[in-house]
């Protein structure tokens, strides 16, 4: 088990500043997910950690070793690629044993490690097959196995589940998490899927435009997003945003009829705010709340997502757990849970107060 420490990392591709002064500390045995929209630099960061890409300044330490200038093979890392990158001309056993062969380990040891990895990943019956004879999920497991056999100091995953269908993705998500918890290997996992990150990671690193926006545990990110970008990125359905103004009496006016008193007055320094409301914090009410008209009803089974448009023209989404049959065009009232509201500065998007 080893910690990974990244300091002041920068990367340019021509004129584009892809990574801007990245600082990140990953604890021993921790599972950290790098999340962000495409083009945010998360894969580039992972490739630099892997040694597949060079950086323009900054340092990477794995344990006590400074690996910034070392080639991939000397970094003692294993990586699982989005495409799995299995060697098509080798059998599953040869794929699993390749890294040990490169390390010139004795045959007996290679064999026993292959058998051990195959047992963990249920690949025992597939050892003589070639990658093209395997299903997507099996290939994914071989790619995992290849990472496991070498017992590396760090696991790197580059969107490993995005080529799988939805059902298999959920199964493999659990398997990867279980293997990681069992081996307790420090893991850095890149994904664009926030659900994947939320369910698997100990901590999540949110990236945008080459910068780290926030690093926190999944629930902290959800409860206390640092700005509107994080607030909108984490959570599905997305957080609702409503422009609001001070009501002149120390409160915030969400609409003409709805004002609230936040429990801190930090925000009042700013002139205009954005109020963030998670869909589950917006309740259907008979008498009180924002007047709105249902525009879309999305049943998902246990819950129903209700999209509505307020009198002020704001589009909102709420989650309905009950069995109320709403139809498009119905008039409803939506009452936010005041203590769960998030307040952001409208100009900068930064979080203003503890809601």
């Amino acid at each position: 088990m080893t910690a990974v420490n990244i300091e002041g990392l920068n990367k340019h591709f021509g004129a584009i500043h892809t990574l801007k002064n990245i600082n990140l500390h990953v604890e021993e045995g921790e599972f950290v997910a790098l999340v962000g929209p495409s083009g945010c630099g998360k894969s580039t960061l992972l490739r630099i950690i892997a040694g597949l890409e060079s950086s323009d300044g900054g340092s990477i330490r794995i344990g006590v070793r400074d690996v910034t200038q070392l080639p991939s093979k000397q970094r003692d890392i294993a990586m699982v690629f989005q495409s799995y990158a299995l060697y098509p001309h080798m059998t599953v056993a040869e794929n699993l044993g390749f890294c040990l062969r490169m390390q010139k380990r004795p045959d007996g040891e290679i064999r026993s490690k292959i058998v051990e990895a195959a047992r963990i990943l249920h690949l025992e019956t597939l050892l003589d097959r070639r990658p093209k004879e395997l299903s997507g999920g099996q290939r994914q497991r071989v790619a995992m196995g290849r990472a496991i056999v070498r017992d590396p100091q760090v696991f790197l995953f580059d969107e490993p589940l995005s080529n799988l269908d939805a059902k298999l993705r959920v199964i493999m998500r659990t398997e990867i998490k279980e293997v990681q918890q069992r081996l307790k290997t420090t893991t850095i996992y890149v994904t664009h899927d926030q659900i994947e990150a939320m369910t698997m990671a100990d901590r999540i690193v949110i990236m945008d435009k080459g910068e780290i926006v926030q690093v926190d545990t999944p629930m902290e990110l959800y409860r206390r997003p640092r700005n509107t970008f994080v607030a909108g990125f984490i959570g599905s359905p997305q957080m609702n945003f409503i422009d609001a103004k001070p009501d002149g009496k120390g409160g915030v006016a969400l609409s003409q009829h709805l004002t609230f008193q936040p429990d801190s007055d930090v925000f009042l320094k700013a002139g205009e705010f954005v109020v963030g409301i998670r869909p589950e914090d917006l309740l259907l009410d008979e008498e009180d709340g924002l007047r709105a008209k249902v525009t879309l009803v999305e049943p998902t089974g246990a819950q129903t997502y209700i999209h509505a448009c307020t009198e002020d023209g704001n589009s909102l989404v709420t989650i309905e757990n009950g069995d109320r049959r709403l139809r498009i065009g119905d008039q409803i009232r939506l009452k936010p849970i005041i203590r769960h509201l998030h307040l952001f500065d409208r100009a900068s998007g930064e979080r203003l107060t503890v809601a």
Partner: protein
């Protein structure tokens, strides 16, 4: 379900296809037949398919010149030039396919453009260079020329093939602890088996058929089969039947090789064409 009958266009395609094949193969068949005729039959204005076949031409050709020496020269030069071209072309194609720079595209086009230059344009400088370096009528001289002549094709074919190999696989090997040499030996070369085979085959065939340089730069010691055929076009006149026999002997090995490897050849020439 639509039934696929023999439509008139299928018939037309069939006829057109066969016509093209016959047109292309006719000279070879003609040459083959002529090689079994007497010189008089061969010159007769009434070209005839009915004649008394004779092996005299083959006997004369084999007796008059040392076929085996020419044939071995062809083998040496084409195989050695091909190996050399692969040795140089493989790393070149690797770096252009996997580590491209902004100028890679232009470099590739420039490499190909050298094939468009007529060889006769550089005959004099090359001749003088070879004379001064003592490379006239030497195996080494021909091997070097063949190698340089085929290098653009070798680089292009391997490059097109490498472009189809996902980069991730090589990166995975690097992370698995492979250095450049291991990456070549355990991953890239096994994966490029078909590409290497078809590239080598094409290069050997092109070297084997090369006539301009072997006729102009060799006399006896390093002369290949192309030069061997040319000796039958003497100042005293053309000996059609003997020339044909010599030509059959010269092209037979490469024809057999092409026949056996035709599947690889077609695949090699269409690398990267269809994804």
């Amino acid at each position: 379900m639509e039934k696929r009958g023999t439509s008139s266009s299928t018939v037309l395609n069939f006829i057109a296809g066969w016509a093209a094949v016959i047109l292309l193969i006719f000279p070879i068949i003609w040459m083959f037949l002529t090689s079994f005729k007497t010189e008089i039959d061969a010159l007769s204005p009434e070209a005839s398919l009915i004649f008394q076949p004779t092996l005299d031409n083959y006997r004369t050709v084999l007796a008059r010149s040392n076929y085996l020496t020419f044939a071995l020269n062809s083998v040496y030069t084409s195989v050695a030039a091909t190996l050399l071209a692969l040795l140089v072309g493989f790393p070149a194609a690797y770096s252009m396919a996997f580590l491209p720079t902004a100028k890679t595209r232009q470099t590739l086009l420039w490499i190909l453009s050298t094939k468009m230059m007529p060889p006769v344009g550089v005959l004099v400088p090359i001749y003088i260079l070879y004379r001064d370096m003592g490379l006239i009528d030497s195996h080494l001289g021909l091997i070097l020329l063949f190698m340089f002549a085929n290098l653009p094709i070798v680089v292009w074919m391997l490059y097109s093939f490498f472009r189809d190999i996902p980069r991730d696989i090589l990166e995975a090997a690097r992370i698995d602890g492979a250095g450049l040499w291991e990456e070549f030996r355990y991953v890239l070369i096994p994966l490029s088996g078909p590409a290497l085979a078809s590239t080598a085959l094409l290069s050997i065939i092109l070297c084997w058929n090369e006539a301009f340089w072997s006729i102009n730069l060799t006399t006896t010691k390093a002369a290949t089969l192309a030069a061997f055929i040319a000796t039958y076009s003497a100042p005293q006149g053309l000996f059609w039947a003997k020339l044909s026999a010599a030509a059959v002997l010269a092209i037979a090995p490469v024809l057999v090789m092409g026949w056996i490897g035709q599947r690889h050849l077609v695949r090699g020439l269409t690398f990267g064409a269809v994804k």
